[in-house]
Symmetry: C3
C-alpha cells in the first residue's frame, strides 16, 4: 500500500517544541503516516502568506495527501476547524479562515467539507490556545490513516467556507500597480501579477521598464530570468512558478529595494524619446552538455 | 511491527551539518528507525531549558520511544552517558547532567539505568567533542532497533543519576515571585508557576493583577486565554500546557516586556480601594459551527 | 529490502517552500525513498562551503545513498547537471560546479558520470530558475528508487567534471597561514589545516601559540579539546572531524574574534625568551563511570 502523506504548513517556527509536539501527536495517532514539511516559517498569524505559499506549492506535493495547515490568529470567535475535500481526492485540514482556499483550485476545486466537531477524535481536554496539537493534528492524522471524511463532523456546504480574496494588480495603459506577495530565502520579490498583466500595459519581454518601489525609481530590464543580467544587477522576470518577480542576480532584491511583503510597486513602460530597440540577450541553454 | 521511534532534542541548531551527521549515523546503524525532531534550537549548553522543553513535550510523543537528548556543556570531567528506562517502557539517552530528569515523571518515573560504557557500540575512535555523533547516536539507534538496555553498559542505580532542581515560585499572601522558563516562537513567556500558585496568593481568574517585570509595573487581566483581550493587549493566562503565561494577543510579550528566559517577575493582587468587581468576558466557544 | 536513502544538502534555507516543494517532487516521483536532510543553510550560492560540508559529512551518511546537492549560482551558461557514481556505490546528483567533488574521495573516488540530459525524467516544462525542483529532484528520486545510472543521460568522463581546488595552508618554519573554512552553530572556527601542519611549523600539542586574526594577536594554548581551558577561554584544538579549530569553551570564537568564513589567520610558534615548559593538563576521561 502506498505511503499516506500528511503535508504540514504552519507559522510555528523552529524555536520551540510546538512543531515537534504536533508531529508526536500525529505519530501516536497514526504511526504509518509520513509527514512532509512544506513550511513552518509563515509569518506569525499571516493567513494570506500561508495561503499564497500553499497554493503555489500544492501542485508539487503528493496526490492524494492530507494537507494540514495551521495559521490561526485568535479572534473573538475562533475560526471553526474544517476538513475540505477537493476533486483530486486531496484533503485540507485547517481553521476555516481562508488559509487553504487558494490551494483548492489547483486540486480541482472544493467538493465536500465538514466542520471538525466530532470531539471523540480530539484530545480529551483540548487547550484553547493549541488547537493545532489537540484538534487539528489528531484529526489530520486519522484522515491520513484512512478515516472517512464524514467522520470528522457535521457536513457544511463548500460555498459557506471562508475564502481569501487575492488583491489583483491594477493594469493601466502604460503601467501596472502591483504588490509584493512573497519574499523568498534569496531575497527575490514575488509580485501579485503575471506576464500577461505587463503585456496588457504594453510591456514585452526584453523591454527596459521603470520600477517604482519604496520611493525609488529605477530602470531595469524585463527578462525571462535574472541570470541574464550581470551579477548584482536588478531585473524584472518570471519566476519558477510563472509569476512576475523582482530579483538581483546573486543578491537580494529585498535588501536592495528595502521592500517586504505587501510593499506596493509600479512597473511602467518607458516612453522616453529616442530609445532604440532592446536586444534580448540569447537565452541561456539549460543543462547543455557544453 | 510498529515503527520504532527515536525522538531527538538538542542544541545543535540548523546552521551546520551536526544534526544531519547524527541522523546519518542513526540511519547507518538502524535504517528501520524513524526519527522525530522535537527541538534543535535549545540555547547552546542550556541544560535547564532542554529539560523543561522535553518534560512538557514528552506526554505528546510516541510510547514507547527512545528519546535522544543532547545538550552537553563541557565540564572538567564530562558527564557520563546514560540510558534511563522509565515505567512506561520509554528510554532516555543523554549525558547524565539532568537533561532528561524532568521528563521521567511524565513517563512513570525512572526504573532502570545503565552507563554507556560498552565501547563496542560506539564509533571505533570517538571524538571527545562530538560524543553526540560517536557515542550517543549509535547507542540510541541500537536501542530503538531493539537492543536490550543492559547491553549499553554497567547498571547504575536510578538514585545516583543527576537530577535538575526546578526553581519553584515563592508564594506570598498577596503576590507570587516567579520567573520566565521559556519564550516561545510567538514571544509568549511561560512562567514557573501554575494557576494554583496564584490562587494561593488570593488571585482568581478574572482578576486584574499587577505584573512587575524588567522594572515595569503593569495592570493586566488574569484570564483563561490571551484571546480574551484585544489585539496587542497583555494578559496573564494559562497556556496549552496548563502553566501560567504572559502573552500579548497577536503580539510578542517578550518584546513588549523586554524579558527573556530567567527573567524574574512578580504577579501581585491589586488592593486598591474602590475597585469594582471584574466581569470575566464570555469564554470564546472553540470550534463552534457558527 | 533496505530503505533507499536520498540525502539532501542545499542553500535553500527554511524561510520559503522551496525545500518542501522539492521534497514533494521526490515523494511524488518515488514515495518509497527516504530523505535525510544534511544541511539547507549553506550560504546562498557558496559552492565552496557546500562542498566542504558535504565532504566532512559524507563518511557518516548511509551507504549507498543518492546525495542530492543543490548550490547553483547562476552563470552565463548554467552548470550542466550531472550524476556521479563513486567506488562505494554512492551517487551524487548536482550541478557540475565542483559542489560534490570534495566528497568523492571519501567514497572511494568518482568512477562513472552522466550528464542529466534525458529530459524524459524531468518536469515537462522545467523552469530555468528552479532546476532543483524540475530536474535535479525528480532525477535523484528516480535514481534512489533504482533507476540505472546510464538512464539519466549522456556518459561523460570523470576527468571532465569540474573539481574544486581547496586552498591549502602555507607552512613556514615557525608559523602557518590558514583561513576559516567553516563557522559552526556554536561559533567554532574550523580552519583549512590539520595538526600535522602545525607540527611542521614546530608547534606541538600543549604549546602556547600566537594567534593572529582580524587585526588581533592573542596567546592561546594548542590543546586536544577546548574543554581543557576555562569557561570563556580561547583555544586552538582539534575538532571532531580531525581538523584544527579555534574555539571558546562555552562561548563563540566567531564573536570573540569577529571572524567569519574565509578570514585569514596565522598560528605562530612563540619564541619569547624564558618561556618555561607548558604543562599539558590531564586529558579528560570521556564517559567515565565516575
Amino acid at each position: 500500500m502506498a505511503p499516506q502523506w500528511l503535508t504540514f504548513l504552519s507559522d510555528y517556527g523552529h524555536e520551540d517544541a510546538f512543531l515537534g509536539v504536533c508531529k508526536g501527536v500525529i505519530a501516536r495517532t497514526a504511526p504509518e503516516v509520513r509527514v512532509l514539511d512544506v513550511l513552518h516559517l509563515v509569518a506569525p498569524q499571516d493567513v494570506e502568506q500561508g495561503a499564497a505559499v500553499l497554493a503555489s506549492a500544492v501542485p508539487y506535493l503528493p496526490v492524494p495527501s492530507v494537507h494540514l495547515a495551521l495559521v490561526d490568529p485568535f479572534r473573538a470567535t475562533p475560526a471553526r476547524g474544517v476538513a475540505v475535500r477537493t476533486a483530486d481526492g486531496s484533503t485540507f485540514v485547517s481553521p476555516d479562515n481562508g488559509l487553504t482556499s487558494l490551494a483548492w483550485d489547483a486540486c480541482g476545486g472544493a467538493v465536500e467539507a465538514h466542520v471538525l466537531d466530532n470531539a471523540a477524535l480530539w484530545h480529551p481536554t483540548p487547550a484553547r490556545t493549541f488547537r493545532g496539537r489537540d484538534v487539528f493534528s489528531p484529526v489530520a492524522a486519522r484522515l491520513a490513516a484512512g478515516l472517512a471524511l464524514a467522520e470528522v463532523g457535521t457536513a457544511v456546504g463548500v460555498d459557506e467556507l471562508e475564502r481569501l480574496a487575492v488583491r489583483p494588480p491594477t493594469v493601466e495603459s502604460d503601467h501596472v500597480h502591483g504588490e509584493v506577495v512573497q519574499v523568498d530565502h534569496f531575497g527575490n520579490l514575488t509580485l501579485n501579477l503575471e506576464r500577461a498583466h505587463l503585456e496588457q500595459a504594453g510591456i514585452t519581454l526584453g523591454d527596459e521598464v521603470e520600477l517604482r518601489c519604496s520611493g525609488k525609481s529605477l530602470v531595469v530590464p524585463f527578462l525571462l530570468t535574472y541570470g541574464e543580467v550581470g551579477r548584482g544587477r536588478l531585473a524584472v522576470c518570471e519566476d519558477s512558478f510563472r509569476t512576475v518577480t523582482v530579483a538581483v542576480n546573486q543578491g537580494s532584491a529585498a535588501q536592495r529595494l528595502r521592500a517586504g511583503r505587501g510593499e506596493p510597486l509600479v512597473i511602467a513602460r518607458r516612453t522616453s524619446v529616442g530609445r532604440g530597440p532592446v536586444v534580448l540577450p540569447p537565452e541561456p541553454q539549460v543543462l547543455s552538455a557544453r
